[in-house]
């Protein structure tokens, strides 16, 4: 046998490498440059391929898969438009630290730079929107590159990695080499073990706290389910209150009395005021995003700040902290618990009681209150009823972006990590539905619901075809107010009620649309029929669109207008006339 006969093609090597990385499913869309890979996929049955209808959706589906399982999501797209369509998804994954490996086709190496058909400078375009990217120029480098890419995607602060694969590299032959484990990178060595002395210092600061608060984010979720268990254990040991960011919901049980709700622009009154008034702030895996801090100069002005993060560049970026600790959330929490148990510090119980009393008073404002009266459904009511019917079932929630997303964060309760998939950093409309498909692929028997708005859902509506093809019983729960609700809300509050282009004109009939794709469509306009509709949705085995007609004028409160401080919160419609947004605030998004 001649050597070239015994050797395998680059495409076969790629598939082998993916199997070695324990990949089970690839979300993709074929095209000329990746035909050799599709040929290799055809010849095997270990890897499952899920055909999406748009490459952006492939990345979001992989994100949903990754976020709900803790594994790396894998995407396969062709060169040129395949790669450029994936860019939004890649940026989304970068902002929210989701581990993705995205394989992109490329024109053969000898044509690179010639403006060949379906050629794009993929590594150039994706450089700023990936954690790292590779252009594989020789088949011999391919397996090693794949293994390195998975290592980079999943280790340290996770993120998306692109591997650009010229067609000739996929067709050339080479022998397979199994990955060397453990994989080590010559320059990329993230610090995951926190410095013990700093953790001891943190415990010292915490023990003296009079008005402490935990502020935790997506980093705890990314650190694995064990990190969330340790977080709950540590928070219970200390007796301190805790707030979560949008990305961090589920890391601490929402029903726990120590949980004061989400913080930030649409966070609870009690969470934001606790942040403003605290004297010790313990940040674990959250990055002081502008949606959290509001006006920087007045962000938690009198607190000692401890920041635990795996990414040193997240520390002291927006807010200067007193005690920075670089490390993985799980390891840090383990260390903190250990130190706390050994020292059994005597906390200032009198001060803590007073702090809880104060928090209780803020809670008493009942900032999420709304009135369900009359004949129109309030969006908050729709979500409360939805939660009532799903809470005892094995369920996962994804969202699109806008008012419905914030209401979902406020009114659905997350008791466990990895159950809540939302586009936090990038705010990508069209994220939720394909993400839900990815979640459903990973959890075939679970109830997966995309809480959507009628505008967002239109951005990746073509994926109904994917849902139909794979019989994915995803439920799309549309809060239909016939507006891009958050745009309308800002126009009402900040732009004199001039609703420029925010009306959802010429909407489809969602019931018929569902029918056209072989799904089931339901519509609900009557508050009295809401429960029945939700029960019906849950009972139907296949994909369902529920079109819930909700109050068109409802705004999402509480709201910290951009550029305002935490204490400067709008609690409801009556609040809005009292304050004008500053000019500085107007320029902020």
């Amino acid at each position: 046998m001649k050597p070239e006969e015994s050797a395998t093609t680059g495409a076969d090597l790629l598939v082998k490498a993916l199997i070695d990385e324990e990949v089970e499913v690839v979300f993709g869309y074929p095209g000329g440059a990746v035909l050799p890979i599709y040929d290799s996929l055809f010849k095997q049955n270990r890897l499952r391929h899920v055909l999406v209808r748009h490459e952006q959706a492939a990345v979001h589906a992989a994100e949903g898969y990754a976020r709900s399982t803790g594994k790396v999501g894998v995407v396969l797209v062709t060169s040129g438009p395949g790669a450029t369509n994936a860019v939004t998804g890649l940026t989304d994954a970068l902002m929210d630290s989701i581990p993705i490996v995205c394989l992109t086709g490329q024109v053969p190496t000898h044509l690179i730079g010639n403006d060949a058909f379906q050629e794009a400078d993929t590594t150039g375009i994706t450089r700023p929107c990936t954690k790292h990217n590779y252009l594989v120029k020789a088949v011999a480098d391919l397996p090693r590159t794949v293994h390195e890419a998975f290592y980079v995607a999943r280790s340290g602060r996770p993120g998306p990695v692109v591997i650009d694969l010229p067609k000739d590299v996929l067709m050339n032959k080479h022998d397979y080499e199994a990955p060397q484990k453990p994989i080590e990178h010559k320059s990329y060595k993230p610090v995951t073990k926190p410095d013990r002395r700093l953790l001891e210092e943190a415990v010292e600061i915490m023990a003296k706290a009079k008005r402490p608060i935990f502020y935790t984010g997506g980093g705890v979720i990314n650190s694995g389910p064990k990190a969330s268990r340790l977080l709950a254990q540590f928070v219970h040991m200390t007796g301190f209150p805790i707030t979560n960011t949008l990305m961090g919901l589920g890391a601490f049980p929402a029903s726990d009395p120590q949980f004061v709700g989400m913080l930030g622009m649409h966070g609870t009154y009690e969470a934001n005021l606790a942040m403003y008034n605290c004297d010790v702030l313990i940040d674990i895996g959250a990055r002081f995003d502008d949606r959290i801090t509001g006006k920087l100069a007045e962000f938690s002005p009198n607190s000692k700040k401890i920041h635990i993060d795996i990414d040193p560049s997240s520390i002291n970026k927006n807010v200067r902290v007193d005690l920075p600790i670089v490390g993985d959330a799980r390891r840090a929490l383990k260390g903190l618990i250990d130190i706390w148990q050994k020292r059994m510090p005597r906390t200032d119980q009198k001060a803590l009681d007073a702090w809880w009393k104060q928090i209780g008073e803020w809670r008493g404002r009942n900032c999420l209150a709304y009135k369900q009266d009359g004949e129109t459904i309030k969006p908050q009511y729709a979500l409360e009823r939805l939660y009532h019917h799903i809470k005892d079932r094995d369920h996962y929630i994804t969202t699109e972006v806008g008012q419905h997303q914030m209401w979902a964060a406020q009114f659905l309760k997350f008791e466990q990590p990895n159950r809540w998939m939302t586009s936090g950093g990038l705010g990508t409309m069209g994220y939720g539905f394909p993400a839900a498909l990815g979640v459903q692929i990973a959890h075939p028997d679970a109830l997966v619901i995309d809480v959507a708005g009628e505008a967002s859902i239109m951005m990746n509506i073509q994926e109904l075809s994917t849902a139909a093809q794979y019989r994915l019983p995803v439920k799309i729960f549309i809060l239909n107010n016939q507006y891009m609700g958050m745009v309308r809300q800002w126009q009402e509050l900040l732009h004199g009620g001039r609703y420029s282009e925010s009306y959802s004109e010429a909407l489809p009939d969602f019931v018929k649309l569902a029918d056209a794709f072989g799904a089931t469509g339901l519509r609900c306009t009557d508050p009295a029929k809401l429960d029945e509709t939700i029960q019906q949705m849950i009972a139907i085995k296949g994909p369902v669109i529920v079109d819930v007609a909700v109050d068109k004028a409802e705004n999402c409160f509480p709201m910290i207008p951009s550029g305002a401080a935490h204490y400067d919160m709008l609690l409801g419609p009556a609040d809005r006339a009292a304050r004008a947004v500053s000019e500085e605030g107007m320029v902020l998004v």
Binding site: R127, P128, K186, Y188
Partner: protein, 165 residues
Amino acid sequence: MASSHTISVLVDNEPGILARVVGLFTGRGYNIESLTVAETNAAEKLSRITIVTTGTPMVIEQIKAQLDRLVPVHKVHDLTLEGAHIERELALVKVRSSGERRVEALRLADVFRAKVIDAKTDSFVFEVTGTTEKVDSFIGLMSALGLVDIGRTGIVAMTRGGEAL
């Protein structure tokens, strides 16, 4: 508050590395005052990038953390913060003049220890090496004496003493 820092970055010499570093600066709105790059270790395929940038202490800290986060970056050193170091720049300076001005250019070049590396009857190209200030003042003097063209390398820098970075 804002001050100038010289940052030395050891990187894998691979395609796209300079684009990664420069893209980081433009994408996040940091300044680049000077940038030099060349392979410094052929056996291990390593290059050294020397960047001079300005910013508040918080911005400089952020720049270093962001650089360190790039996968092909091995080491990031803030020479300005880490103690005594030396900085040098090389410039090629073309001067066209005749008569007394030509003689004066040559005389000043001697004072600055600049070398003549090309000469025609009506022009010189000088090679001058030194700190940025020295190069600046040499160029300033030449501008009155028929300065035609300047090429500058930007700053390369190294710590004092026997230790490697």
